[in-house]
């Protein structure tokens, strides 16, 4: 491909070493290396322009440096992120970089200095997780702390995301330099059942939501005698609020490919498919590039590494349907049908794509495979809890200060993630709830911050691990509105094949709509509870079986909030417009008029420095005035409350 370096087929351990050597020269060139985080999140924050501006500045000053794109190092809320590595020195992370910073950053670099204004932290060593090797970079600059000491990174152990933000995702050489494809070479020299045994020992469970033991799934597929088998990587990632799979596909695509090739060897599959949702164009492009590179070097195709293994991978792009993440629906979708699930058994491991044995694994699951194959099951099982081994990547998002992807050992508490790594809710507000598992999960109240995050504990608390979304909510979030939001999602995404899911979600949504609009009735809560249980018990696939978790969990922990909506016609968070009446306290109002300027409906009356009044007739209850008032003179009450 466009990269220089090794072009001929990689056939032996020696060839792999050559690949690695070239990669080390790229990662640690004898000149400065500047990497700009250019995953989708970085690009949205403007990293494309940063990349160009830095390139222009380097050229203008005639500074010899390598400039490369990288994936996302995780701290998305501080993007655009840039790292600079000079020979013999610590790597410096810069955050919130703007195009105007390119000049001063490059000139600081030319003078061998750190650009203090945007400096975030330093890295003094690189650990190659696959091999355990450590590469010392250099001492940290005097006035800058270590990146690893930041709240956000302190609890993290980055295994599945080991290369994200570090390597150029378009370079197979850099992947190899981080120990990539070594585990594959070792695996191909050994016995498939030995690797499956290591994966079983590792305790790895599927990261796509259901948590099925990966080693067992591989064993079953391996044992399904057939000369044609498939391995599918599930990159549909439909859970709104989770994006670790996107980040891995965009930042470290070869880790997933390597996991798939090892899987193909273990299970005897010849064909691989990576199914990526249509909303992820950059992931599709990056993975496609990686496949072409691997094919060019003979790491995909016939007789891989002279082992006799023949395996190739293609990308299939989804077309916008959440239910296609469900494995049988995904298969139907690849076969050219609407993505409707079918009853299991037969499980895909016995009868999957085109009726052939098929192993379906999630992106993050597969990214862990080279580590386990390389370092052994015991090593991996040394992290996490008894029932949930290893690490999990969480998308720590919502009303939280440090937002991004965090990878922590299983069993880390909600508090350590949300309040520790996340730094708690933004703007000093109070934590109200944490939502995990997306539309299939539930809301845990702030009182459960000490809950360890593992499969069993989360299920016990009425939610699920799911794919790892973790949405932080403060007092400004209405839990009834959240339940309604997720039901809107589920009702819209229900494929319609089975009645409980199709009719049940619509009926529940109707009731929630009514409650949030002020028409709630006392008996609604019992009906919601009953209906939710029926949909859970009677639906055909995981979508319906979990769709009512958001309702059940909010009913369990936030019942009084539902009651306020129904009895007092009051939304305590001020989110449900129909229930909310805004007023101005004349004693606190200083008549600055900011609210009137902000009001889109011209509903704020009054002049000069007189206290303002809200015309309830024109008020659209958008809350803009409430948010802008510097005096906190604007407040809201429920429609059915005294004084409203």
């Amino acid at each position: 491909m466009t990269e220089g370096g090794i072009k001929h087929r990689v056939e032996s351990g020696r060839d792999l070493q050559a690949l690695e050597k070239k990669g080390l020269e790229l990662l640690y060139p004898g000149r400065p290396r500047i990497a700009v985080a250019m995953a989708s999140c970085g690009r949205a924050a403007g990293s494309g322009r940063i990349y160009e501006s830095i390139g222009d500045e380097l050229e203008r000053r005639g500074l010899d440096a390598s400039l490369v794109p990288a994936g996302c190092p995780g701290l998305c809320s501080r993007e655009p992120l840039v790292t600079v590595l000079e020979p013999g020195k610590a790597r410096i992370y810069y955050s919130g970089v703007q195009p105007a910073d390119a000049g001063p950053l490059v000139s600081a670099l030319a003078g061998g200095e750190v650009y203090q204004k945007r400096a975030l932290g330093a890295e003094v060593e690189d650990r190659l997780v696959v091999t355990g090797r450590q590469i010392d970079l250099g001492p940290p600059p005097g006035n800058l702390g270590l990146l690893a000491d930041l709240d956000f990174y302190r609890p993290q152990v980055r295994l599945a995301t080991r290369n994200c933000g570090c390597i150029n995702p378009f370079s197979i050489h850099e992947y190899a330099a981080r120990g990539g494809y070594r585990a594959l070479a070792e695996a191909l020299a050994g016995d498939p059942s030995g690797i499956i045994a290591e994966i079983k020992k590792s305790g790895l469970r599927g990261r796509g939501g259901a948590g099925f033991p990966t080693g067992l799934k591989w064993e079953i597929t391996a044992g399904s005698g057939h000369d044609e088998k498939y391995i599918i990587c599930n990159g549909d990632e439909g859970d709104p609020g989770a994006y670790m799979d996107r980040s891995i596909l965009e930042g470290d695509p070869h880790s997933v490919l390597e996991g798939m090739i090892i899987g193909a060897y273990c299970m005897g599959a010849r064909h691989g498919i990576i199914y990526v949702r249509a909303e992820y164009p950059l992931a599709i492009k990056t993975v496609g590039h990686a496949i072409a590179q691997a094919r060019e070097l003979g790491l995909l195709g016939e007789n891989i590494l002279n082992s006799g293994l023949s395996f190739d991978v293609e990308v299939v792009m989804g077309a916008g349907a959440f239910v296609c993440g469900e494995e049988t629906a995904l298969i139907a979708s690849i076969e050219g049908h609407p993505g409707e699930p079918r009853p299991r058994p037969p499980y895909p491991a016995r009868q999957g794509l085109w009726g052939k044995p098929t192993c379906i694994n999630n992106v993050e699951t597969l990214a862990n495979i080279p580590l386990i194959a390389g370092r052994g099951g015991d090593w991996y099982a040394g992290l996490g809890t008894a029932g949930s081994r290893g690490t999990k990547v969480f998308a720590l998002v919502g009303k939280v200060k440090n937002s991004g992807l965090v990878e922590v050992p299983m069993g880390t508490t909600i508090g350590d993630i949300v309040l520790g790594a996340g730094g708690g809710p933004d703007g000093g507000r109070k934590l109200k709830a944490v939502q995990t598992g997306g539309p299939s999960g539930g809301c845990i109240p702030a009182s459960l911050v000490d809950l360890p995050v593992d499969y069993e504990s989360l299920t016990g608390a009425g939610t699920i691990m799911g794919s790892g979304g973790m949405v932080v909510m403060d007092e400004s979030v209405c839990m009834v509105d959240m339940a309604r939001y997720f039901m809107t999602f589920a009702a819209g995404e229900s494929c319609g094949k089975c009645t409980p899911c199709r009719e049940g979600t619509a009926e529940i949504l109707d009731i929630l709509d009514r409650i949030t609009q002020g028409g709630g009735r006392p008996e609604d809560l019992d009906t919601l509870d009953e209906l939710s249980r029926v949909v859970k018990d009677a639906s055909l696939c995981g979508l319906g079986q979990t769709a009512t978790n958001p309702v059940l969990s909010t009913l369990r922990y936030f019942r009084s909030e539902y009651e306020a909506h129904i009895k007092d016609k009051h939304c305590p968070a001020g989110v449900c417009r129909n229930l909310t009446v805004y007023r101005i306290n004349p004693e606190l109002c200083i008549g600055c008029g900011l609210c009137a300027e902000e009001c889109p409906g011209g509903a704020i009356l009054g002049r000069d420095d007189q206290p303002r009044v809200i015309s309830q007739e024109s008020c659209t209850r958008c809350g803009a005035c409430y948010r802008i008032c510097p005096q906190e003179a604007i407040f809201f009450t429920g429609r059915g409350m005294p004084g409203a």
């Binding site: 909303e279 916008g320 009303k399 997720f486």
Partner: protein
């Protein structure tokens, strides 16, 4: 557009895996919708019942039987975007473009859509314009956003 053009598209997609999806995706991209004649031509070429292609065309949100606008504005309504005010962004865009969610402007220039989650949750609320994602969108500045993202593309121009 002749039946042959559609047949050529079908012939380019040779892998059986995801074949129907990738063919319809290419037709959708090129013609901004799935014309009836395209579905007929593809069904014939693939030797599949037309009802199957129609089923696929109406099941997935990426496909549309009516022409979509030249520019697609997708407001993300993922969980985080929802709690950070995506509804207000959509409302403002509806006002500015004079269409409701899912609709296309009379001049065929813009389609306003709701998208599920773009996976840029730490930068919410986000909006995608013709595939590129814009971070931390405010309702007050959607005008400027469209102007800067689409050259000569101010709504109502």
């Amino acid at each position: 557009m002749t039946g042959n053009e559609y047949t050529d598209i079908v012939k380019r997609h040779t892998s059986p895996n995801g074949r129907v999806l990738s063919i319809l995706e290419e037709i959708q991209r090129k013609y901004r919708h799935l014309p009836e004649e395209a579905l007929r031509a593809a069904a014939e070429e693939l030797n599949l019942p037309l009802s199957q292609l129609y089923g696929v065309a109406t099941f997935y949100t990426s496909f549309s039987l009516q022409p979509r606008g030249e520019h697609i504005i997708g407001v993300c309504h993922g969980t985080v975007c929802h709690v950070k005010g995506a509804a207000r962004v959509t409302a403002e865009l509806e006002k500015k473009l004079g269409v409701s969610e899912g609709g296309t402007t009379g001049d065929g220039k813009f389609t306003l859509e709701s998208v599920k989650c773009l996976g840029c949750c730490s930068l919410a609320p986000v909006v995608s314009i013709d595939g590129s994602v814009h971070a931390r969108v405010k309702p007050e500045t959607v005008d400027e956003l469209i102007k800067s993202a689409i050259p000569g593309g101010a709504p109502g121009d």
